[in-house]
């Protein structure tokens, strides 16, 4: 272990420069956040992940955000264990009928102000599972959605861009309001 730790002193870090925020995501967000943003958040964001029916692909890329290449915590963004600690619900999957109530209850357990990010193509409109007897549809059919991040699954860099846009808007909204 000592060798590993020593090497990490002399090696360059693997962590990469922050990506540019996503302009498209910015526009989508502006409206939602202008209404609600306050200075409460500062520059930190706590995210509660909710899998409402996904294939697990989006979860893999969410996990990747915590690896050393993306190191999401350096932006003040972290994943939390309870909806009661969360500012953002990050919801994946077409919402299945068997998960709709659990999603709704998780949303209700999250204190305001709160935002919902729908992650992945299925979360937008049910994706390739739309129309199934077991699927309600996109996340917005069950809880209000503030931001969609498209992709199947969206690569970590895209998720990061969307979230940074969310943070910047929250900051800006706070200054003007």
């Amino acid at each position: 272990m000592r060798r590993l730790l020593f090497e990490s002193l002399i090696r360059r870090p693997l962590t990469e420069a922050a990506p540019r925020r996503s302009d498209a995501a910015m526009q989508e967000l502006a409206a939602a956040i202008d209404r609600t943003a306050r200075r409460w958040l500062g520059r930190s964001l706590s995210i509660r992940a909710v899998d409402a029916g996904s294939c697990n692909g989006c979860e893999l890329e969410m996990h990747a955000l915590s690896n050393v290449f993306y190191d999401i915590e350096r932006f003040g963004i972290r994943f939390v264990a309870s909806p009661r600690h969360a500012d953002v619900l990050m919801v994946t999957g077409p919402v299945t009928r068997n998960m709709a109530e659990a999603l709704e209850r998780t949303y209700n357990a999250t204190p305001g102000p709160k935002w919902v990010v729908a992650l992945g193509s299925c979360a937008r409109d049910g994706g390739c599972f739309a129309g199934s007897y077991a699927v309600v549809g996109g996340v917005s059919r069950v809880v209000p959605v503030d931001l969609h991040i498209p992709g199947c699954p969206p690569p970590p860099a895209d998720i990061l861009k969307g979230l940074l846009a969310l943070l910047e808007q929250a900051d800006k909204g706070a200054r003007t309001s």
Binding site: D51, G57, A64, A81, S82, T96
Partner: protein
């Protein structure tokens, strides 16, 4: 067809079923097949239904052959398999939820996938109106002094899929764990019915995100088996390359994540970095980090550029340089070993009874690997070992993964060294006839079975069986007598799929 020979002398074989035989049996043959499972002569590979028939896929491990036994023309019921062979229990509960066929003599009459929230019942059978009010789900009782219950889920604390765990504990010690699954049931088999092979392949590749390559691989092979279609040699090899990259990425991620659950995030950080390198290499080589939709019926959808071969060789060198130090770290850290060794033991008898595949089976003495036992090209032309251990604890499941990382590195190197040139995709066209095909592919988690019937250019029925069906029930057994705090560790070492199981 030795696998069926003593089961159904009166049966007739279905001529258009490939590559293994399918026989329509009478009740006697069905019962004989059930008995051969109960006395351990055969392994249950799958059990699924249609509106008025049920199918059971069997494996004869000694001969290395598989086959399907069917009961047709049913009037609402069939003789339960689980009554004599428990590993079929959840399969039969799911079968009843989906088709309405009643397994006669089944001891557990509770629904499994149907939580009473769909707007209909029996989606794959004679559809019926949903019941006005869902019945409360009764968990199995656990009685005794000072027992308490801990309900967990479906929404879990981490970034994981949804499912419910009901623990009964005596102090810290788990007396009983009961799983309740089905939360991410998307009705994939329902969506498959009537789909063309292109859309069906997309759905198959989204059954379980971490095994998207393996599912697409199995689906494509099943379609090709049904149509008797050969694919270009280059595609054969590229498929195996993607499958091994997927296995490598998942095993690296798992090794790190298991150690993280034993409060050792250093391993997660290092293994996570290696996993990310594999995903990035896959992205550069095939245009998608998880290589989704890259295997299609008829071949593959993305070719490997000559320049990318060197990139992949660099990746192999990088992992070979860094991984041994991590294995040493794992093996020489006393606090880690203290948590891993002797935790969550799955006894070999249970692994064999359930026909558990993947690292779960191989860490408990069951040497089954579809690449070796039911070989498909190009694995018949590749050199690799199937590591097996007998301890059955978390530590053994980690070591199987470590050994398989090494095997996958070697396989990728072999594949890159003999990639044949040429086209990568043949056109797929049905000839209007009804054809049936089946394939078993070894994903990182274990053997994935896909069975389908094509009518012309449409999928009439497709069944996808995740390896988790025969692993989830064993987690309940492995956790007994362990402390609640070791559950995440045991669960991660099994790493069963929710989405693949719930479909």
């Amino acid at each position: 067809m030795p696998v069926l020979i003593d089961i159904a002398p009166e049966a007739h074989l279905i001529p258009h079923h490939r590559p293994w035989p399918r026989a329509v049996a009478g009740t006697t043959g069905w019962t004989a097949a059930t008995e051969s499972l109960a006395d351990g002569r055969r392994i249950l590979l799958g059990l699924w239904g249609e509106a008025s028939c049920v199918h059971m896929a069997l494996l004869d491990e000694i001969d290395g052959t598989a086959g399907v036994v069917s009961l047709e023309g049913l009037e609402g019921r069939y003789p339960s398999v689980a009554r004599h062979h428990l590993p079929a229990l959840r399969l039969e509960r799911a079968l009843r939820d989906l088709t309405g066929l009643e397994p006669q003599g089944l001891l557990d009459t509770r629904p499994w996938l149907d939580h009473g929230r769909w707007n209909l019942r029996f989606p794959l059978g004679e559809k019926a109106a949903a019941l006005p009010k869902a019945k409360t789900y009764e968990f199995l009782p656990a009685e005794g002094e000072s027992l308490h219950r801990i309900p967990v889920g479906p929404v879990h604390a981490g970034i994981i899929e949804p499912g419910h765990f009901r623990f009964t504990a005596n102090g810290e010690t788990i007396v009983r764990l009961e799983e309740r699954l089905g939360y991410v049931h998307k009705g994939i088999e329902g969506l498959m019915a009537g789909a063309d092979p292109v859309r069906a392949a997309e759905l198959a590749g989204r059954t379980s995100g971490d095994s998207t390559v393996a599912y697409a691989y199995a689906f494509a092979r099943a379609v090709e088996a049904a149509l008797g279609l050969d694919i270009p040699p280059r595609a054969v090899w590229l498929r195996a390359l993607m499958a091994e990259l997927e296995r490598l990425a998942n095993h690296l991620g798992d090794i790190g994540a298991i150690c993280n659950d034993a409060a050792f995030p250093l391993m997660l950080a290092h293994c996570g970095a290696l996993r990310e390198c594999v995903l990035r290499a896959a992205d550069v080589a095939f245009g998608h980090r998880l290589m989704r939709d890259r295997i299609v019926p008829g071949g593959v959808a993305a070719d490997l550029d000559e320049a990318r071969v060197a990139d992949l060789l660099t990746l192999l060198a990088e992992i070979r340089r860094k991984f041994p130090a991590l294995v040493d770290l794992y093996d020489n850290t006393a606090s880690l070993q203290d948590r891993m060794v002797d935790t969550g033991i799955l006894v070999p008898d249970l692994a064999r009874l359930y026909g558990a595949g993947g690292y779960v089976g191989r860490a408990s003495g069951r040497a089954f690997d579809a690449r070796r036992a039911l070989p498909y090209p190009p694995y018949d032309a590749l050199r690799f070992d199937v590591p097996v251990l007998n301890q059955g604890d978390v530590n053994a499941r980690v070591w199987i993964r470590i050994r398989e990382v090494e095997q996958s590195l070697s396989l990728i190197e072999q594949i890159l060294g003999q990639l044949p040139p040429g086209p990568i995709r043949h056109h797929v066209a049905g000839n209007g006839e009804v054809r049936e095909g089946m394939a078993v592919v070894e994903g990182f988690r274990g053997d994935i079975l896909i069975w389908l019937r094509l009518a012309g250019n449409r999928v009439e029925r497709c069944h996808l069986r995740d390896p988790s069906w025969f692993q989830w029930p064993l987690l309940e057994a492995a956790i007994e007598g362990n402390i609640v705090a070791d559950f995440p560790l045991c669960n991660k070492s099994f790493n069963c799929s929710y989405s693949g199981h719930d479909l």
